[in-house]
Symmetry: C2
Subunit: 265 residues, 2 copies
């Protein structure tokens, strides 16, 4: 069955959909079959990215495509019914992709939803991107006014803890939780170091490991209308700027750090 990679962070705009697409394209270009599941169907960023890619293929480009599905949250008027409906639809789509693909990449919303929590409880690998920022950090842990000491754990840490328990109870499975910084700049050495120090302490305390992340580069977002990533450009022989090559290396370093199981592509 597919190895499941969930991209999660309750904090909005931390880079989940961007990270999801770059992991997807990297695996596709290595020859794997990849399923993509968008649980943020109202925003539908991943769905649009995949549809833009299809549009580019229909216009004549030869690009590998993922097998895509998305789930609209139930509109049932009673919460328990809506959750039951969400769960049923999730299981149908999830099982289908699980059987059909080498890897299944699930994009979750930047808010606390039943479908998002359900996906977390099914992850083999959980990838959490976050901005190099105390505001993003605040969803993992509250810090004191020096910005150096952890005062208490915060809502997203608690959610992951709950879903790790759910996973353990369902099938004794463990979730490999990998956190990466996103939109990093070369400047701001002091803020960067302060946050890195808190993250190192937090990693030990709540059980995640830290992977090399992505710098702030326009190449991570300017190809969205075409459904492309820099991996597609470079490997089709388009001219390569320094930033494109550096970005590709960042994506490769992340994939390497994820320690994904070997599959025959």
């Amino acid at each position: 069955p597919a190895h499941i990679i969930v991209i999660g962070n309750e904090k909005g705009g931390s880079g989940k959909s961007t990270t999801a697409m770059h992991i997807v394209v990297s695996l596709l270009r290595d020859g794997y079959s990849v399923g993509t599941l968008d649980l943020d169907a109202r925003q539908g960023t991943l769905t649009r990215y995949v549809n833009n890619r299809k549009r580019t293929v229909e216009a004549g480009e030869n690009l590998p495509l993922s097998r895509h599905a998305f789930l609209q949250p139930s509109e049932a008027p009673v919460r328990a019914e809506a959750e039951a409906e969400d769960r049923e639809r999730f299981e149908v789509v999830f099982c289908e992709l699980l059987a059909a693909c080498d890897f299944l990449v699930v994009d979750t919303p930047g808010s606390n939803t039943y479908l998002g929590r359900l996906a977390h409880s099914h992850a083999n690998t959980l990838v959490t991107p976050l901005n190099d920022s105390y505001i993003d950090l605040d969803m993992l842990a509250n810090v004191d006014s020096s910005g150096r000491d952890i005062v208490k754990l915060s809502v997203y840490s608690e959610m992951v803890f709950e879903q790790r328990k759910a996973r353990m109870m369902r099938d004794r499975g463990a979730i490999d939780w990998v956190v990466m910084r996103n939109r990093l700049s070369n400047l701001n050495a002091r803020n960067k170091q302060d946050i890195a120090d808190v993250m190192t302490a937090l990693a030990r305390r709540i059980g995640f490991r830290i992977a090399p992340g992505f710098s702030e580069r326009v190449i991570y977002r300017e190809l969205f209308p075409r459904g492309l990533t820099m991996l597609d450009l470079l490997e089709s022989g388009e001219s390569a700027s320094m930033s494109h090559l550096a970005a590709r290396q960042e994506v490769r370093n992340l994939i390497e750090a994820l320690n994904l199981p070997q599959r025959k592509p």
Copy 2:
């Protein structure tokens, strides 16, 4: 009654809470009484920012504070009941702050919620920050693969349209919708221009105006643990770097562009 400024954008991480706090502190430092209402109580970014500021005041700093309230969404099991509960709690808190303050700044979640929509329908001024990115733009309008032509309007534009109608029906009031770019960099001239062109066309088409926005600067986020903004630092005589002065000017330019009504501070 207070002039109501709602900070809204369904897209996560566009800079709502950051923009909210900087507008709040600017108005406070000009001597106005400011109410703050956090409708994103689970994430609670604005609530934490305000509490961090209180903590700094309790430690001896002399800083103006907003009058703060936050609303947890109802947990009622039936959707219609939950919305009725949310509406009642909103009206109590809202009326109180409306009567007590010169300005009321409302921070909304980066997702589609009943409380968020309700706040939009009560706005005098709606401020929408967004990243200089096709991914953020996608919540206002879908564009074609060239990234230049608008294909159709998207979910957040539709939401604002609905809430403007609701406002018009309730009290014939109009919402001044101001959109600003956030986390701008000096690089990426082509992507920046392409997005600026789409925004100009969109502004005419859906009825918003564009205000000068904020650059990407660590000073917009590194003071979060202390509950401060660069306006507090500069005006207390702390040493001012070029970036701090430039950031303060960006905040002042935004406030100016908002065209807020004159109030006796």
